[in-house]
């Protein structure tokens, strides 16, 4: 395979890793942010935390794979993205660290103060993680102020109307899938959990739809998150993706209303991956677009590693990604009711 095809394949592999990560992370952080609103009973709270504790760690490795894979396949994209969003990445890191350590250690001590502090830190970090991811992707897709010497934008400029809407949209998605995840894992508490989460889930699904429609209005206008869409005009079949995104989020209002737990979870899990895939495709071939001038953005073909590196890594991914999917799938299946 030549380098151009390999670069495109790697672009696809990274979109897959991001999609798998965001789809699964949604219900883990979702359950985290909802926990105190669903129940204040200690045992019931633990019943919500444990299934997420069992799986979060294996899920977060998809994030590391997406980031590490970018490093291996497109070093310049990796380096320039992290350098440009320095402060944002450290905020995200601290949040991910707090989430990880609290979910693992919250119930490792009987001391009630310990459990309370750990649980609240878990709740707050779970709420902020998708918010930061929404802001992050919004900024990537609408383009950083990348000049010749690097990012010319200030830290606080990452917060703007588009990015905050995207952040809220991501949080709302997590509430929908997190609600379903809490109910699916409940045993004796199932009815109470379902009653408590219903309102959150239904309202969140409306917020998701409003957010999606708001961000989509900019589609193909040249501005905003999905403003550049050259590829969509060249390959009209791709229009199916934004249409699917709108349909999925609208149908999910109906599904959450009908309490179709499984379906609302699956539909909810599709939203963030679709947004990310559409966002990257809209900017194709730029993986890190510049809002100052297109040429200053980082193009995936220029940033790609050598053909040899891409080939070695391609075979590694070809063998090991399916293996990982199988044993992680097995784990979900095996522990679903245990």
């Amino acid at each position: 395979m030549n380098q151009e095809i390999l670069s495109i394949i790697w672009f696809g592999i990274l979109l897959t890793a991001w999609s798998v990560y965001l789809a699964m992370e949604s219900f883990v952080v979702g359950s985290g942010m909802l926990q105190p609103f669903v129940t204040m009973d200690k045992n019931a709270q633990q019943a919500i935390a444990k299934p997420s504790g069992l799986h979060w760690d294996g899920i977060e490795v998809w994030l590391i794979t997406a980031i590490g894979g970018t490093f291996a396949a497109f070093p310049a994209v990796f380096a320039k993205t992290l350098e440009s969003l320095y402060v944002a990445f450290f905020l995200l890191l601290i949040l991910l660290m707090i989430r990880g350590v609290t979910i693992e250690l919250a119930y490792k001590d009987e001391n009630p103060t310990w459990q309370k502090v750990m649980s609240r830190a878990w709740n707050v970090s779970s709420l902020l993680i998708p918010l930061v991811f929404g802001v992050y992707f919004s900024n990537i897709f609408s383009g950083l102020k990348l000049g010749v010497g690097g990012n010319e934008g200030k830290f606080y400029e990452i917060f703007n109307l588009n990015s905050i809407v995207m952040g809220i949209l991501f949080v709302a998605v997590c509430i929908v899938t997190g609600s379903a995840w809490i109910v699916l894992n409940a045993n004796e508490n199932r009815d109470t959990f379902q009653k408590k989460t219903y309102g959150f889930s239904f309202k969140a699904s409306i917020v998701v739809s409003l957010g999606v429609i708001y961000e989509m209005m900019a589609f193909n206008t040249g501005e905003g998150i999905f403003g550049r869409s050259k590829l969509f005009n060249e390959a009209p079949a791709l229009w199916a993706l934004p249409v699917l995104l709108v349909v999925v989020s609208l149908v999910n209002i109906f599904l959450t209303h009908k309490k179709a737990i499984w379906l609302s979870m699956i539909f909810g899990m599709l939203v963030m991956p679709l947004i990310v895939v559409i966002g990257y495709l809209a900017n194709y071939p730029y993986m890190l677009p510049s809002s100052l001038s297109p040429q200053l953005g980082i193009n995936l073909f220029n940033a790609a590693s050598s053909q040899y590196t891409l080939t070695v890594m391609f075979y590694a991914a070809l063998i090991f990604v399916p293996i990982v999917l199988v044993y992680q799938g097995w784990k979900f299946w095996y522990f679903a009711k245990r």
């Binding site: 504790g53 660290m97 990982v324």
Partner: protein, 433 residues
């Protein structure tokens, strides 16, 4: 300033992360051994032993995994020039570490942490060995990446000089530097795990000294037997392997200057001392090679800027060796006269208050390895200074201080939980946690 702060931040975060990594590697192996004994000997005591050490593993693992997350991120945030220059070679081991090791480790560690009390012995044994396999594979890949920085192989420089290109993946994986380093790292982790078990056991021997036939005494006696064998094996193999390693790295085409420092043949100015006349051709080799690469890189560092802090590296090396011999003596003593740990207050105190020693030895070893490579980021290819990101200095101050504050809290949490669990000792009846 950005260079200095980024170096301080990297050194701080990697040293902190590495407080947890070796204990994770050592304790999971010990847990796996006891869990296997539970199946082989069909003795439930071993299941309890595996549970106890496996619980301490979990606390340590949680902090290890979150502090590890920051390491790959920093290559982009703080060392972006390095990442662009080296990405073609260096990115792959990191991505492979995630794909081959982290998934395995974290997927099955989750089962161990949250579900182990509900699993059969055979199932548990499989889970704990898969976690052990994951941690070991993880060590292989990260040391492969570090080995390239120490001794670049299997690469060429791109035609425009802008980056390093991978030419032979097998050479990178089979880099002798990495293999020596891997063996040294794994052995030291086993030693630390063994010392940790001895330390906690000594505490319980003191506490239960009045009833030597209690269940807890038997429990820790069994733990110590395995730990002492593991600790003695590791501590004896370390200097043997280390000796070959040091000889190898001192070769003219590896890191002759570091080798000469370890043999105490270099003065503070980086000049070979006269007593080492027989090594004079190695001085020429040092000069010729680094001169040529410096010129190729267009760098204008003076000769003095091209040497690491010689005495710091040398004395770290000596201190590590002294500690190494102490460990051999200590474990040998415990093997020959096991009852000393149960009865002799001096030996018990050495075991308890000596727990920082293996950590210190490991940190000293890393100082030799990483400070001894300065000022190179990638040996003879890129200096630390050239690798740094173009970020505002305030941003680095912010990340450094946030991390220090957060890590102090993490460390306090870890210590609190570890001490509490370790002091409490095992629950000798099966109980849901």
């Amino acid at each position: 300033m950005v260079v200095l702060l980024s170096r301080v931040q990297f050194a701080f975060t990697v040293a902190f992360h590495f407080l947890f990594v070796p204990l994770t590697i050592g304790l999971i192996l010990i847990t796996a051994i006891f869990q296997t004994l539970a199946v082989v000997k069909k003795d439930q005591t071993y299941r309890h032993i595996a549970d106890f050490w496996g619980e301490l593993f979990v606390i340590n693992f949680a902090v290890g995994i979150v502090t590890g997350l920051i390491m790959p991120i920093q290559f982009g945030t703080n060392w972006s020039q390095y990442s662009i220059f080296m990405g073609d070679v260096f990115g792959s081991p990191l991505a492979l570490e995630a794909l081959l090791a982290f998934f395995l480790e974290s997927t099955f560690a989750g089962i161990w942490i949250f579900k182990r009390h509900k699993l059969s012995d055979k199932f548990r044994t499989a889970v704990v060995w898969l976690v052990t396999l994951g941690t070991t594979i993880s060590a292989i890949w990260i040391i492969t990446a570090n080995g390239f920085m120490q001794h670049p192989v299997g690469y060429k420089i791109a035609a425009d000089g802008s980056k390093v290109l991978l030419t032979n993946f097998k050479d990178v994986v089979m880099n002798p530097y990495s293999l020596f380093m891997l063996a040294h790292t794994l052995l030291s982790a086993f030693l630390l795990g063994a010392f940790f078990v001895v330390c906690v056991s000594a505490f319980h021997f003191i506490r239960n000294i009045k009833n030597p036939n209690s269940g807890k005494m038997a429990f820790f006696k069994k733990s110590v037997t395995v730990a002492v064998i593991l600790g003695l094996t590791a501590s004896v193999l370390l200097p043997i392997e280390g000796n070959v390693y040091a000889k190898y790295l001192g070769q003219n085409d590896v890191q002759p200057l570091k080798g000469a420092i370890l043999r105490n043949q270099v003065d503070a100015q980086g000049q070979l001392m006269t007593a080492a006349n027989q090594q004079s051709d190695s001085e020429a080799a040092i000069d010729a090679k680094s001169q040529a690469t410096m010129e190729a890189a267009g760098s204008n560092l003076s000769k003095l800027d091209r040497i690491p802090p010689v005495k710091f590296v040398y004395y770290s090396f000596i201190a590590m060796q002294i500690l190494g011999f102490f460990f051999i003596g200590f474990f040998l003593l415990l093997l020959l006269v096991p009852k000393l740990l149960r009865q002799n207050p001096i030996v018990q105190r050495i075991a308890i208050y000596g727990i920082p020693l293996p950590y210190i030895a490991i940190t000293l070893g890393w100082i030799v390895s990483e400070v001894g490579r300065q000022p190179w980021l990638v040996y003879n290819l890129m200096t630390v200074e050239d690798g740094v990101s173009n970020v505002p200095v305030n941003a680095v101050w912010f990340s450094l201080f946030t991390l220090i504050a957060f890590y102090v809290i993490l460390f306090a949490m870890d210590l609190y939980l570890l001490m509490k669990k370790a002091r409490k000792g095992p629950m000798l009846e099966e109980k849901e946690v």
